[in-house]
Every structure is written in C-alpha cells, then in structure tokens.
Amino acid sequence: MEKVRNELLQGTLDLLILKALSAASLHGWDIAKRIAVVSNDRLSLKQGSLYPALHRLEGRGWIEAEWGVSEAGRAAKFYRITRRGRKELEVEREHWLSFAEAMNSVLNNLEELS
C-alpha cells in the first residue's frame, strides 16, 4: 500500500495520545508504534514531537508517568491515562467527531450542489 503520510492537524496529537493510552499504559516508543500501526502508517509524525506533547499532558494532569521495564528489559517511562484524562478524551473525541461530521457534510453537500 502506498504510504500516504498526512501531516497532523494542530491539536490532534493530544487526542491520539490519549486514545492510545486509553487501553493500556505504554512508553513513548510504543505510543508512536501503535499510532503508526492503527493508522496504517498514514499519519505522519516526527516521533520526537511526541515528547513535548507527553510532558504537556502530564503537566495538565491528564496522564501520569512511571518508570518501568520495557519488554527488551530496558528502563522506560510508562504513561497511563488518569481519570481527568479520560474525561478530556471524551470531550475531545466528541469535539473531533462533530467537527469531522461537519466537515464531511459540507464536503458532501458541496459535491451534490456542483
């Protein structure tokens, strides 16, 4: 499959991270990999930019971190979503869906009109 790498829209990285962490606690590398796998590698992401986002979310109290041991046996920092993070995820998700729906409906209607 051709790699269609879409630049991330501003503000969506936080949502992706929260979503990735909603199932399990992961370290940064796993989060990047998971986003890549789930999106079929269609979302382009400078992997380094994850970290400012992770620390920002941590600062807001939406996720928390803990040092653990990776599968390879190395020390790694694992992130886990907090209760406030879950709430935020819901809000952001609703927000995104309604935004996407609105965008879709505009695009579709315009198609019909033309």
């Binding site: 940064g28 380094g48 790694a76």
Partner: protein, 891 residues
C-alpha cells in the same frame, strides 16, 4: 579577526561548560534524556532489523525522531515551568544573548550607569548622613538654638547676664542650657601638655539634650559655681582612645589646665553630635564667678533650649522674641539693636544645606549626562536593529512581544549598572572618609543601609526604563512601517530621531559646561584663598594657639607678665627675628566685634554705632607678621595699663571713619560699660584679609595693645631670620614648655600649613566638584563620540557619493568636525548660563571667595570644544578613509 572570533567562541563554550557543571543538571533533565535516548535506540534497532548498516540506521533514526531534538527538549523544559516564568526565562536568555552580541553597547551602558548613579548615590548617602539623619537626642524636634541676632550676625551668641536672666524666667519656653567652646590642656607627668577639644557647659546641658552618662553621673547644680567645678565628663571616644576604655575611670583624677580634676562620667557612644558641637572630648561646668555671671557684654554663650511639650513652637518663638525685646529696652547700652530668635536644632545642622543641595544637584547633572548617553546608545541600537523588529512585527509579533526583549534588556542593564554603581558609591564613601579625617582621627563615615541600596537600584531602574526603553519605543513607533518600505536601509536616517539625538548632545554639553565651569571657578577661588597674603607676609612665619587657664592666670597682671616672658624668651632664641602675641592671626577671621564712638561727633542711636573687629597685640606684632605701618606708629612697650589708651586702625577703617581727615590723633571709645574710655589713634596700618571662604561681616579693623586688655586666648607668632621656619617648631615648643609645662601650644606650625589645613573642608568640596566635572566631561565625550560615529556610519553612502563626485579627504573631515563642534558650541553657550548660576550660588555660600573669573569660563568653553573636536575627529578620520566603491557596492 577570525582568530579573535574563534577565541571568543572558545570562551563561550568554556563558559557554558562551566555553567552547566555549576548548575548540576536536575534529575528530571537526566530522566528526559534517558527517555528520549530509549526511543532513539528503539528506532535505530528497528532500522537495523530492516537491514540497514549501523551508521545509517542511527542517522535514519535521528531523521525519523526529528532533527530538532534540542528544540523538543526546550519545549519540554518550558512545560515544567509556569508559563509566565517560562516566558521570562526565555526573554532573559534572549536579552543576555542579544547584549552579548554587542558587548560594546552593554559595557558602555553599564559603565555609564555605574558612574552616573554611583556619584549620585554617594551624594545621597552623604546627604542622609549629614542632613537627614535624626539627631541623637530623644524628641529632638523640641530642641532649638536660641540666638541673639545683631545686624552683624543673625546667629549671635549671648552674654552670661542675658542668659541667666532667661534661665530664671524660662517658664514660657521650657528648659534652657548654655555652653561655650573651651579647649583645655591635658598634661600627664613627663609628657608634653596637649590641647583637647572641650566645652564648658551649664550643669543642665546634658539633661536638656536628654543624654545620660553611660558611666558615672551627670553634673550637679552646685558644680556650676567656681570652686566646685573641677569635674570632667569625657566622651566615649576619649575614654577609649586616651584611657583605653578602663572600667575604673570614674573617680580618677587628671591634670586639666594644670589643676587636678575628677572624671565623674563617661558619655555613651551614641552621643556623637559632631554636626553641632564638633568632636568634643571634655565637658566641664561653666564655673562662672559672680562677676562673670553679671557680664552683659561678652557674648560667649551658645544657648540650647528644650521646649516644654505644653507650649507650641509659635508660642515659644514669641516668648523668646519678647524676652529679647524686653532686654533690648532694659539694657540699651548692651542690647539695643539685638533681637532674639529660635531655630530648630534639626535645622542648624553643620555643613550648609545649600552646599549639600548644590552637590546633590551637580551629581544629578552627572546622572543626567549618563542618562542621555544611555538614551543615545539605546536609540542607536534600536535603529540598528530596526529591520529585525520590522520583520518580527510583520510576522505577527504583538506590540508586547516586540517590547518584551527591550524591557528585559533595560532591566538587565539597570541591575548590572546599579550593582556597579554601589561599588562606585562605596569607593566614593571610602574616599570621603579618608579625606574628611579630622585632627583627632575622626572620620565622616557614610552609612550604607537599605535606603541607600534602594536609592541606587531605584534610580537605575528608573534611568534604564526612562532613558533606555523610552527612546527605543519612540524609535520603533517611528520606524516599523518605514523600515519595511525602505528595506531597512535609508540614505540618511529619519530627521525626527536625529534631531532628538542632537538635542541630547547639546544637553550633555550644557550640563558638562555647568559642571566644568563650576569646578574650575571653585578650584581657582580656593587656590586664590590659600595663596591670599593680603597685608601680611607668610614666609618664615610660625604661629600657634595658647589658652591661659583662668585658674592660674587669674588677673591681667599675671597674663601680662607671662606674655612679656614668652616674647622675651622667644626673641632670645637663635634664628628668631621677632615674636609677638595677639588675640588673632592676620589670616583668619577676628571674632571680637565691638562698637565704637568717635569723639566730637554726634553719637548715633544706641546699637547703630560703627562696628569693628578688634585685635589685641603685643608691640612687635606688626613687625612679626609683616603688616606695614602706613602712618603714625605701631605700639610701644610702654603702651601698658598705666599709660593712656591707644589704638591703631587699618587703612579701610581710617578712610571709612574719617574720610579725608587725618585719623592720627582722633579719639575713639568702645561702647558699653559704665563710662566711655577714650583712646587715641596713633597709627594706620595696611588692611589684612581673611583666607577663609566665609569672612566675618565686619570690615573695619582696629588694633589695641595687648597689655591694655590682656587676653587669655591668644596666638603666638614667630618670624625666623632666613631659617627654615619648620625646623624651629620643636625648639619653640621646648621654650614654651620650659615656661609653663601645663600649657600646650595648639597647631604650632607654619602659617602656610595652618591656612592649608583650615581650608581643608573647602578642599574636599573642591575635589568633589572636580570629580563630578571630570565624570561629566568623560561621559559627555563618550556621548558625542558615539553619536558622531553613528551618524558617520549612517552617512557612509552620502560620503561615498561625495568622494565619487570629487570631494577630497579634507572636505569630508570638515563636514564631520563641523557637525560635532556645532553641537558642542550650542551646548556650551546654554551651559554658560547655568555656570553663571552655579558661580552665583557658590559665591553666596562662600562670600570670601573670588568666583567671577571670565578667563575661567572662556578656558572651560575652549576645553569643551577641544574635547568635542577630538571626539569628532576620530570618526571623521574613519569617514575620510572610506572606500567609495565598496560603500556604494554594499548598497
């Protein structure tokens, strides 16, 4: 050039390495590194697994991770800090980097601030120490001096009889006490007698001031009377220095004026009122006998009162004025024409407030010059960065975002400048302490407390913001749009700010002119004072002061015979040409003011008789000090108690009193006393003039024979015959000690040295003025150099075109020089007005100084123009070296 750049790079790397070691990286930082490294390693591992070689895998991992790992780190660090702090931190780093990029600007700004504010801060702390610091007395606002004002002296002293009248009836005021300076001799067996500064005081003086002795007791009421008065209270300083701070000092007997006295008390260290009383070490009771208490003529007592709390200041002043008026009516012979007045003790602080305010003002001038330098520098810098600002504004930076780095830079400069200013001020205070060292080793120590630090930093922040930031804002408002339009490059810079900078330069030169001219006038005036030898000759002359204690020299005959003995023995010394004793030296003020009537004339109303200062002298006085006898004769040995009273008058007195008449043979009598005692004028001598900046108010000088009115306080004068006078001092002292071992001779030295020492305080003032003037001149020349250099750089294109059109080096140099000199001239002309004002102020506070010297003003103007020429010549020199091809190609 490139080598130095490399070196600089090395330096910064070294500094940064040092810095990061200094501030040990936090745990969080290390964790962050580990976390990101882990991710990188994983990525690299993944690429390796895809078959890439190690090296490429690493590079690919870095590519995938994002090249700006450092930027991510920075973002993360920001997220650890509260947002405002993160911004501030960024602005600070930015400001430091940006200042480091133009170290010349930063250095100049900091130096300018340091000296400008440092000088000002020194003056502020001096002002605080001298004028603002509260007096060391409880409820000092109730304390006041009470003066007996006469037409000659608005702050005159009181006669004992007047004072004791007041003290008996002082219930309309409160408590009154009096003192009189009385330096005393202290002699320990086997040592030369020494003069110590002392006061004779009424027994209630310390209680009136509210001071308790730290050891021992206060004076008792009965100790006011002679016979009970052989008691001494000493200062803390005297106790520590002379008596080693020994505990058992109270009760000890010492020899004062050759008589045993008992030390009854030691004052606390807090009693250190040098501002009023001087550095006094010995306090003794007045010890006036009945005759002295009834004396209504000798105005010798200084009166201090403590107003009762129930009496308002106005009531108290009214009471004193009434009391004086009543005395003037009751005793017209002595008190007519005098009025009494009250002045708060706080307002009488020594060290003229006018001088203090002037110094503060002049230090303010230095500060203003520094400020306008800063404004100029900041303006130039902002203009140079105009393109940077324009681009940032175009990219959407808000006004605040544009200004924030400027604000932070200003504050950074002000803090650095303020810190250096405090160093400068401390150095200034040290200098002042050394320069103010008194004869007894006391120094004026300026207090550095929080208010002084606060002042320094307050001034520097205000300065940096008002003079560093405001011009930048002003320039930005002008420039942002224009700069973008003109591509950040214009042939000549905007007229508005150019005019503003020229205005600053003119102002600087005006201020520098005021400072320089003021200092130059003062230096010349003081020099003239120190070398003024009007009416007498200083070569080969040695003088010294003796005070004959009343207890042992109780009557006129005892004093006279001692005086005769002294003159006889001194004149018998080898190398001595002549010797004399007089109540005053020819070169200081004569404080003995008396009123006279002339025989055969209508007597003026009481209190309005002509006044003259009187010097009582021994026969050889005129020969010894070198005052020429112009007509008639001097005094003879037989002009004594038994002979008729005689006077010698100065030339000015003769002309003033008798006009064209022959003064010789005219008869004068001193006003006061029961009966006029007429004396004949037998001679006229040359006028003498005081070398002090503040001469007495009375111009007429009258001499009378010492033998006809012997004085206990007197000056001995010895003129050597072609022998170095300084070498004779020791033998004069030996001769005097042989005559009376308990009698010290104070300030026994050449007349020249005495004069130099007397004008010492004035010399300190001179040095301060000179310091300010030099600072001002230095800062102003830095300022004009900066502006001209800047203007030249901006006009490089214009000059290139001129060169291309055939102008030669001389033409360009002339243009540049002319623009600098024009500014200097306008500034100097304006400053001249201010300089005349300062000269007036100095002349008013130092009436004895000659401060109107047009050549000095001319010289100062020339000096300023020379400085302007030099400061403009350097950039002109560079402009003339301009390569027109290069300058135009750069365009």
């Amino acid at each position: 050039m490139s080598a130095s750049k490399n070196e600089r790079g090395e330096f910064w790397r070294w500094l940064r390495a040092k810095g990061s070691r200094l501030f040990r990286r936090s745990k969080a930082e290390a964790a962050l590194d580990a976390e990101m490294q882990f991710h990188l390693d994983q990525l690299a591992a993944q690429f390796r697994a895809e078959g890439m070689p190690e090296r490429e895998a690493r590079l690919a991992a870095q590519r995938e991770f994002g090249a700006e790992a450092a930027a991510y780190r920075e973002q993360i660090r920001d997220s650890w800090r509260p947002p405002e702090l993160a911004d501030l931190w960024r602005s600070l780093r930015f400001a430091v980097r940006s200042l480091a990029r133009s170290p010349g600007f930063a250095l100049l700004a900091i130096i300018t601030l340091a000296f400008g504010i440092g000088g000002n801060t020194t003056m502020f702390s001096a002002f605080r120490t001298i004028s603002l610091k509260p007096l060391p007395y409880p409820e000092s606002e109730n304390l006041a001096r009470i003066y007996r004002a006469t037409p000659q002296n608005p702050e005159g002293n009181m006669a004992p009889a007047d004072f004791f009248d007041l003290r008996r009836n002082a219930n309309g005021f409160g408590e009154v006490a009096a003192y009189t300076p009385s330096d005393t001799s202290l002699s320990e067996p086997g040592q030369n007698a020494e003069m110590v500064s002392g006061l004779r005081v009424t027994s209630n003086l310390l209680a009136t001031l509210g001071v308790q002795p730290q050891l021992g007791r206060d004076f008792r009421r009965e100790e006011d009377l002679p016979g009970n008065d052989r008691v001494v209270i000493i200062s803390q300083r005297c106790w520590q220095k002379r008596f080693g701070g020994r505990e058992n000092i109270v009760g000890r007997t010492i020899r004062v004026d050759g008589e045993p006295h008992e030390i009854v008390g030691v004052l606390p260290a807090s009693f250190n009122d040098w501002r009023h009383l001087g550095w006094v070490d010995f306090f003794r009771p007045l010890g006036f006998n009945k005759e002295k208490i009834a004396d209504r003529r000798s105005t010798i007592l200084r009166v201090i009162g403590r107003r009762a709390k129930t009496i308002s200041p106005n009531e108290a002043a009214g009471f004193i004025a009434n009391f004086g008026a009543r005395l003037a009516k009751d005793f017209p012979a002595e008190d007519a024409g005098s009025t009494w007045r009250v002045k708060s003790l706080n307002a009488t602080v020594t060290g003229s407030r006018a001088i203090m305010s002037m110094l503060i003002g002049l230090s303010g001038f230095v500060l203003l010059i520094a400020c306008s330098n800063l404004a100029n520098l900041s303006l130039a810098r902002t203009m140079a960065r105009a393109r940077e600002f324009a681009v940032r504004a175009a990219l959407g930076a808000s006004r605040m975002q544009l200004l924030r780095p400027l604000i932070v830079e200003s504050l950074l400069l002000s803090v650095a400048g303020g810190a250096c200013a405090i160093l400068v001020a401390m150095w200034g205070a040290d200098w002042l302490a050394v320069r103010s060292t008194g004869d007894n080793g006391e120094q004026v120590i300026l207090a550095f407390d929080w208010s002084v630090f606060g002042w320094a930093f307050g001034v520097s922040v205000v300065t940096a913001v008002a003079f560093g930031l405001a011009p930048a804002i002003f320039a930005l408002r002008l420039k942002v749009n224009e700069t973008l339009k003109s591509g950040g490059r214009s042939l000549t810079s905007g007229r508005g700010h150019q005019r503003f900078r020229h205005f600053l330069i003119v102002g600087q030169f005006a201020l520098a002119m005021v400072l320089l001219a003021g200092a130059a006038l003062f230096i010349r005036g003081l020099d003239e004072l120190n070398h003024r030898r009007a009416g007498w000759e200083s070569e080969h002359l040695v003088t010294g002061t003796i005070v004959l204690p009343a207890a042992r020299y109780s009557d006129a005959e005892k004093i006279n015979s001692f005086h005769r003995l002294v003159v006889q023995r001194l004149e018998a010394m080898p190398g001595v040409a002549s010797a004399s004793i007089s109540s005053f030296t020819p070169f200081f003020n004569w404080n003995d003011i008396r009123k006279f009537v002339i025989e055969g004339r209508v007597r003026p109303p009481s209190g309005h008789e002509p006044a003259a200062v009187v010097n009582s002298v021994t026969p050889d006085y005129f020969a010894t000090v070198g005052t020429r006898v112009l007509a008639g004769r001097g005094f003879k040995t037989n002009d004594d108690m038994a002979a008729p009273k005689v006077f010698v008058v100065s030339q000015a007195t003769a002309e003033g009193l008798f006009g064209n008449e022959n003064p010789i043979g005219q008869r004068l009598a001193q006003v006061g006393g029961d009966k006029l005692r007429w004396g004949e004028i037998v001679g006229v001598v040359a006028n003498v003039k005081s070398v002090l900046p503040d001469p007495g108010p009375v111009a007429f000088q009258i001499y009378q024979p010492m033998a006809q009115e012997p004085q206990a306080y007197s000056e001995i004068s010895v003129r050597s015959a072609n022998v170095d006078p300084a070498g004779m001092i020791a033998s004069i002292r030996t001769t005097m000690t042989a005559l009376d071992p308990d009698l010290p001779v104070r300030d026994l030295q050449t007349a020249d040295a005495t004069i130099e020492r007397a004008n010492y305080q004035t010399a300190v003032l001179r040095d301060m003025l000179s310091g300010f003037a030099l600072l001002g001149l230095g800062l102003a020349s830095i300022g004009i150099y900066g502006v001209i250099a800047r203007a030249m750089a901006q006009r490089a294109n214009e000059f290139a075109i001129r060169f291309a059109l055939g102008a030669c080096v001389k033409d360009i140099t002339r243009i540049v020089l002319a623009s600098g000199v024009k500014l200097a001239l306008i500034g100097s002309a304006l400053g001249l007005l201010g300089a005349i004002g300062v000269a007036r102020l100095l002349a008013a506070t130092n009436p004895g100084m000659q401060l109107n010297a047009p050549p000095v003003l001319l010289g100062t103007t020339l000096l300023l123009i020379a400085v302007a020429l030099l400061a403009s010549w350097l950039p002109a020199h560079r402009a003339a070296r301009l390569n027109p091809i290069e300058a135009l190609r750069a365009e």
